[in-house]
């Protein structure tokens, strides 16, 4: 249960922050280079993509972090029992 709440709290914020930070970055780039509104638009969609990726990676298992493979592939050490999320990857 403890781990479940941990994961839940974790992914809640992942998506929102990705979109907000990416859009803010796009806005800053626009201000800097004067390319309004293209930087904001492109980075907004990239942010949505990054957010979805982060959430997907967070729910496919806590053992899989942003930007990486499952630990099983990177590190062939003995693994604890997998959780239900990993079914489709077996």
């Amino acid at each position: 249960m403890q781990q479940g709440v941990g994961i839940g709290l974790r992914i809640g914020i992942e998506f929102v922050v990705a979109v907000v930070v990416a859009t803010g970055l796009g806005w800053a780039i626009d201000r800097w280079l004067g390319t309004r509104p293209w930087g904001t638009i492109v980075l907004f969609f990239l942010g949505v993509g990054a957010g979805m990726l982060s959430v997907y990676r967070a729910v496919t298992g806590i053992k899989m972090a942003v930007g990486s493979r499952p630990l099983a592939k990177a590190d062939p050490a003995p693994q604890p029992a997998k959780d239900d999320w990993d079914d489709d990857e077996a």
């Binding site: 403890q2 709440v5 941990g6 709290l9 974790r10 914020i13 992942e14 922050v17 990705a18 930070v21 990416a22 980075l43 990239l46 942010g47 993509g49 990054a50 957010g51 990726l53 982060s54 806590i62 053992k63 972090a65 942003v66 930007g67 990486s68 493979r69 630990l71 592939k73 990177a74 590190d75 050490a77 604890p80």
Partner: protein
């Protein structure tokens, strides 16, 4: 009854000992005081716990050992092998956040982690540290982290920016998660406390809610420290074992 409700007043930074170096304001604030208390308490706990290492541990020793083993376990299972070198760092981080969160729940104290600048500084240390470890261990190969395996070249144009973005967003998610949870929890406690002060006899209801909320906040305080530490472990694993 005119009791002013100022639920955000608790987050005010106060200068306890004003101190200026040139134009830089380095006053000793209530925030710094709570950080000092946290550090002193952690140091006291670990020192008391390891003073006489008995085979059958006493009270202090078991608390210190439990905390140590909890973090050691977390590092081992989440950061992969070869990550033991970073155990002191993760342990320090976990204990500092845990104590800051818990001390914030003491009435009339101050929650250090409810300030974004504090949590962002912690997250930035983790981010810069982890990136440095990755570059030192793998050199130029570290950039492979941003290139997913087995993807057509056409898609890489889209995927590499997304991967880069999701990497550089880490310090933000890490800091905002902790900060937002602490800020929201403490604001909620203060709001219901304000209700209780202003409704007379019916104060029993907001008071009851506050009792439940304090329990929830205790859970959140421990859990957020845990989440921060476990994400640090996962990021470390990325840097140590590239795919």
């Amino acid at each position: 009854m005119a009791i002013e409700l100022q639920p955000l007043e608790q987050f005010t930074i106060e200068r306890l000992v004003p101190l200026h170096i040139g134009k830089l304001d380095v006053s000793y604030t209530n925030s710094a005081l709570l950080m000092t208390i946290a550090v002193v308490l952690i140091t006291a706990l670990t020192l008391l716990g390891t003073r006489k290492a008995a085979l059958v541990p006493g009270r202090w020793q078991s608390v210190a050992e439990m905390a140590y083993e909890f973090v050691a376990n977390m590092v081992d299972t989440n950061a992969g092998h070869g990550a033991r070198d970073f155990l002191p760092f993760v342990f320090t981080l976990f204990m500092f956040i845990l104590f800051s969160n818990l001390l914030g729940l003491v009435p009339y104290s101050f929650t250090v982690t409810s300030h974004i600048i504090v949590t962002f500084a912690l997250a930035a240390v983790v981010f810069i540290g982890v990136t440095t470890v990755g570059i030192v261990r793998h050199g130029f190969h570290f950039l492979r982290l941003f290139v997913p395996e087995g993807v057509p070249v056409v898609l890489l144009v889209l995927l590499v920016p997304i991967e880069l973005l999701s990497y550089f967003i880490r310090p933000f998610t890490l800091s905002i998660r902790l900060f937002a949870n602490m800020l929201a929890g403490h604001t909620m406690l203060a709001i219901f406390g304000g209700f209780a002060a202003s409704v007379g006899v019916f104060a029993i209801f907001p008071l009851g809610i506050n009792v439940l909320l304090v329990g929830l906040e205790l859970l959140v305080a421990v859990l957020q420290a845990y989440v921060f530490a476990i994400l640090t472990c996962l990021y470390l694993r990325d840097a140590l074992h590239l795919h």
